[in-house]
């Protein structure tokens, strides 16, 4: 599903140029659950942004679902993204002005789903995430764990083929964290491909394969199952 070869990304500030990704290559097959680990600043989030089509690489190739997507313009990327990819972030990134229901509904709006279908689908997902009773609350009225469940709900509401999670448990205590990991595992078992960045060896154990990075490069790969 994902094949990256010699992927490069640089950040230029006034005088220094940082190499965030240095000729990184690996594949992710459909239905896999991959964890990416590495010390802070090694380029994990940068990688995830590129995989999520939020950012463009500076070099190398990125084949998504058999299509070369590096060099896609923003409109094309946005289009591909909204049908195929869901995101979960460490800091939840819910829109404070919208209710739980509306936050989850958002991806459906952008893909042009009709209002009645949207409602049905959102309810279904909220039900599954066990957050239905909070659907008219605003994010700030929820606990961290609840917020992350909403974020996961939003990520999956479109039935994306790929979920990208950037330290999804980073802001949560262990029990809330485990709950989120269980959710992700369950999604994976239903066929969704997941790439997750994490600092926690505990969380990484939920995955099938761990890719370890250092200074923008892959150092090792451990296959767990």
């Amino acid at each position: 599903m994902i094949k990256i070869t010699d992927l490069e990304k640089f950040y230029r500030t006034e005088e220094v140029q940082t190499v965030a990704l240095n000729k990184l290559s690996f594949d992710v097959k459909e239905g896999e659950f991959v964890a990416v680990m590495g010390p802070s600043g090694c380029g994990k989030s940068t990688l995830l942004n590129i995989l999520g089509l939020l950012d463009d690489p500076d070099g190398g190739s990125f084949i998504f679902n058999g299509i070369e997507v590096s060099g896609f313009n923003e409109r094309k990327r946005a289009n591909l993204r909204k049908h195929n990819i869901g995101f979960v972030f460490q800091s939840f990134n819910l829109i404070d002005e919208l209710t739980v229901f509306e936050n989850v509904e958002l991806p459906l709006i952008y893909t042009g789903v009709k209002a009645a279908d949207r409602k049905e689908r959102v309810h279904e997902v909220l039900e599954k995430m066990q957050i239905m009773h909070r659907k008219n609350h605003f994010p700030q009225q929820l606990s961290g764990g609840q917020q992350q469940r909403v974020a996961v709900a939003r990520a999956v509401v479109n039935n994306p083929k790929l979920i990208l999670a950037d330290e999804p448990t980073g802001n949560l205590d262990s029990s809330n964290g485990n709950e989120v990991m269980d959710l992700l595992t369950e999604l994976n078992q239903q066929g969704t491909t997941i790439v997750m960045v994490t600092h926690s060896e505990h969380d990484a154990k939920f995955s099938h394969r761990i890719i370890r990075m250092l200074d923008g490069q892959k150092v090792t790969e451990n296959i767990l199952v």
Partner: protein, 810 residues
Amino acid sequence: MIRNYFKIAWRNLWKKKIYTSINILGLGIGMACCLLIAMYVQDELSYDKYHTNTDRIYRVVHAETYGEDLKNTAPPAPGEFAVWGNAPVGPALRADFPEIEEVVQFSGRADILLKHGDKNFQEEGIFFADATVFDLFSWKFIAGNPKTALEDPYSIVLPESTAKKYFGEENPIGKTLEGSSAPGRANAGSYRVTGVIEDIPENSHFNFPALLSMNTFRKSREDIFDMWGYVDFYTYLLVSENFNIEAFEKKIPDFITRRRGVSPDSKYTIALEPLSDVYLKSEAGRQPGDTGSLPNIYIFSLIGLFILAIACINFMNLSTARSLERAREVGIRKTVGAARKNLIFQFLSESVLIVTFAAFLALLFVFIALPFVTDLTGKSFRGVDLFNWQSALVYLCIIFGLGLISGIYPAMVLSGFKPALILKGISNTRTKGAELRKGLVIFQFSLSIILIIGTCIVFTQMGYLLDKDLGFDREQMLVIDYNYDGRVNNKIETLKTTFNNLPEISSVAAARSVPGSYFPNAGTTIESQEGTMALNVPAIYEVDVDFIPHFDLELVAGRAYSRDFPVDTIQSLVINEAAARLYGYNNPDDIIGKRFQQWGREGKVIGIVKDFNYLSLHQNIEPLTLRLAPSECRYLILKVTTSDLPATIAKIKDVWTRTVPHRPFLYKFLDEDFNRQYQADFRFRKLFTIFSCLAIFIACLGLFGLASYTAEQRTKEIGIRKVLGASVTNVVMLLSKDFIKLVVIAIVIASPLAWYAMTRWLEDFAYRIELQWWMFALAGIAAITIALLTVSGQSLKAATANPVKSLRTE
């Protein structure tokens, strides 16, 4: 989807109340100003357009040159024409040109006493008019036959309000009104009411309380109607559909030669003005009514746009200043699938929503302001005119137009954020468009400062108009208007003596004209330096023997009229310096004793008065002759020397009604009447001031908003600075400095522009102030002070906040 956008927009606006109200208030005021200005402009542009035949009606304007001007072969400038002219030109045009289908002529404005039963009023600005008048002008008849109403001598057609005034609810048709004599036009007589018309619409270039049949005039002064040199008529033409003005104008010289002939002393020509241009574009003199001002229309349209621009800029600046706040939202929306166009659309719907609220607020403001606007402009606008489908359509266009204009830039900026950057939590980069925002603030303040400087200069000029020494005494001069009444003139000496005996009155004089009132011109021949007789047509004031000392006019050569010189009553003439120059005498002493002829009188020039401003200060002092003609007088002028005016006026009235009981006691004060010439200027000043204040207010609203955002964004910095020992003053200075810098730049930009614009404006006054540097300095200081007050409040709030608190929130 759209509903979703509006829902979100609504919540966003509700959450940011200050931001929202600044925008809505600013845009609301801006739109209200624009609406009012648009109504005003539309009204000005609508003058005389209501006639069915507007496009086919033309007006004849006349120009006649004499004396030195004859050497100038160029055609007369538009300002040298006069609307008022002779009678024979009308019928001659009608007879000679098939393309001229109909002619209607009006007399000059006549002030006539009308009487029905115990109702007795002096009606000002009545016209004698040809029976054809209603073929040209579509004034609607309520009763009577438009074809014949003004056929017979002593017929009168009344607008509805005049009819009501004299006849109440009675049917006036066939009833009579007693009319006093109209000197030089018609004898006193009973006028039979033959028609009642709807009141003349306000958007007409002239208006009248009644129309009298021209045949009334013709009956008493038949001779005048063949005299090419006798000026007392306004001539309007109805032309055929395919009339070609250029082709017609080529035929004018032949026509004049054929009909009037050529004279060695003068050169006469005519031109045509289309009716639709008459109110705004005519520069001709001797207009039958008020004229508008095209420059003012431009000025106010521009101000309207300025104000709207300032309000739109507020919106742009506040939206982009808030970009950080919105950045995270943009990032999240993009990760869940929003395309850029979705976001642009979302932000545009927010701006359209704001503009929609502003539009409703604007309507409210307009309704509140309408009565004041009516007061201010002398026009009566009706609120209902705003509610028709055309207005609604225009309104909708404005809402979407403005929403788009002010929303598109912020939408582009906000929607352009890269989600990858935002979601990493990069929040202390500089907000986008900071430079542009500064530029826009400078632009706003430049506009505002131009208006402030303008206001300052307009005020100074108007003050100058009121205070300038006009060269004659205008204080406490009570002017009684008895409208040439022969019975009053017979008793004028008695009246003068009685009034002079009152302790409250120091001096009395009579005249046909006083400064600020109507005066005629008179063909006057005076012996030149070379001994030949030169003809010119200067203005003429017919006065009595006391006029010159009464007004304290200064003599620069010779002597004033005197009772000690009986020849003065028929053989002497006093003129002003400008007239002496007109006849070629730069040294006034040299013209004393020269021969003159004027209106059948011959004799010697005996005195020269120093030029005094008998015209408004818009004009230079023109040549003037002061002719001794006590029996031609219209006004009695009393110099009052008391502070108890009401009692004195009562006393004067008492003397008046006892001596000439048949003549109503009508009076005015000379200075007030003279200053009435500046009514349009005062109106201009008021409107200009109001709009300037609103402009600066809206600009400050924006500044306030920006200042509070800046303060908010810099709370952490301020906290750190305070912990490190910065005082409140330091912090306020720090925060205010940037804004003040912008205002100073705006002053630098605005000053030359204002200087240029105001120089142009002042050119309309023959007598004007010099622009001084302090006017600009004053406006600058005012702008800085206002800006400082606006900004420092927010800065102070930020500076006095507890640093521990602000640091903890980060």
